[in-house]
Assembly symmetry: C2
Homo-oligomer: 316 residues x 2
Amino acid sequence: MNQSIPSLPTIRQAALRIAPLIHRTPVLTSQSINRMAGADIFFKCENFQKAGAFKMRGAANAVLSLPEAARAKGVATHSSGNHGQALAKAAQSVGIPAYIVMPETAPAVKQKAVAEYGAEIIFCKPTLEARETTLEAVVARTGATFVHPYNNYEVIAGQGTAVVELLEEVEELDAIIAPVGGGGLLSGTAIAAKEMRPAIQIFAGEPEGADDAFRSLAAGAIIPSSAPRTIADGLLTSLGDKTFPLIRQHVTAILTVSDQEIVYAMRLIWERMKIIIEPSCAVPLAAVLKHKGLFDQKKVGIILSGGNVDLEKLPF
Amino acid sequence: MNQSIPSLPTIRQAALRIAPLIHRTPVLTSQSINRMAGADIFFKCENFQKAGAFKMRGAANAVLSLPEAARAKGVATHSSGNHGQALAKAAQSVGIPAYIVMPETAPAVKQKAVAEYGAEIIFCKPTLEARETTLEAVVARTGATFVHPYNNYEVIAGQGTAVVELLEEVEELDAIIAPVGGGGLLSGTAIAAKEMRPAIQIFAGEPEGADDAFRSLAAGAIIPSSAPRTIADGLLTSLGDKTFPLIRQHVTAILTVSDQEIVYAMRLIWERMKIIIEPSCAVPLAAVLKHKGLFDQKKVGIILSGGNVDLEKLPF
């Protein structure tokens, strides 16, 4: 396991490593959204990524970085969301086992997605403690390597590959904005973008109901969310000890938005761009629309993080 | 007004003419849909077209082909759907008036879309007769040129430009399938594709509840639908005297599908491809999935016709 903070060369190596397992996703623009925002926005469409989210990048890098001896025993994680699906798919792609710990309350649609990628699902009570002890037991039983959803340098390096593609395609960006939950995408994005283009500004969008990154940056120390609540269910997690320092070093500001603002931005992207994104994915656009002064007439890159949404439970 | 049947050179001229007013749309693929279909499908994404549908191509060609003397008086049509929006937007783009006759029962969302493109809306009773007499009165009052949604050679030539782009990008297609309502898209597609690649097979997908093209081809004469009823509300219209002979000449088969099959295919595209398409747009994929024997292991181009859907009235 890589114990040192990734740099741009590490992220570029990750990009080469994961290339066979991921899509190079398109960059889309919308004239009508640009008019509303007063800025030129370039959307990096990770909702079109394999398994439906940028998480495939980090999971693929973690799987492909396993030492030879550890490979055959597979990988394990606790996640009922996109990381669980991505890790299952990455493991399946290289023919090794994946063990995904999930609360027994996880929606059937998410269980099905993980099962379709051939992973073994281990259910636990829906508490943090049960999740961790169950995962420990799985690792002890199988010898699988635990791949944390974000507090892991291989995962961070993998997530950073999306912005490398974006900056190769659109060179003159003034700012990048990504959503922040545990901070894996934001950390990888910030490292890569700042090394490729030192003058670029890095922002994050965060739901008001899960604003631990905003509060942690203000306090100068990690302050986890105690009872996060937001429609952006991919962003409920709190920063980790690997992501917090990177975000503190590189990020200009965390911009918080309400669930109402998130749903408005989500609908705007569905209607104007005809693409499907999940609520968490709409948070950066919601932040740009709310804080227009920061982005006025600028060229802004937004990482659209994912498109996994239950069509029977839409917020419209 | 062009009174002769378009050929590939006419369609290529149309492509040059309309280039400033349209998007060159992407071609997408989905491994999981390919596996389900047993074929390699290339989706030409006209749901990303300006005004949200391929109709922008035909409308733009009609507007840009107007004789100098007729231009200033503008264009008129009856349509509460994508053709009305497209004609309004095309006219707005070149700064001429557009008059759109709509039944007073048209959904507010469609009225709004046309009004946003600066067109004058003229309401009529929701009958075919009222529509036609109202349109005649508008043309008499304004001197505007009537642009029929499909029974018009400039419109047909414009719609044919989508498949030209598709075949430029993916050369080795064995078959093309488009939806059929009035037949404008299907006619233009068939002319262009057959001239570019004579061995290619042309198919159409049609809703069972509005299967006039299927019945007309079987009978050898136009048999309009009397009371069409389908979720694919863009395909309620019947073939015209300009489209029927072209379809009869070029199309191998019309494949009909039920509304249930349409909704299934629509949901598949939403979930697997993360793009928004309207029900009419799902008809060709529904047909491919129903008639797998026709497409087994073949390379198939599908024209995804449009993405204008009311998010508050989804069939899921």
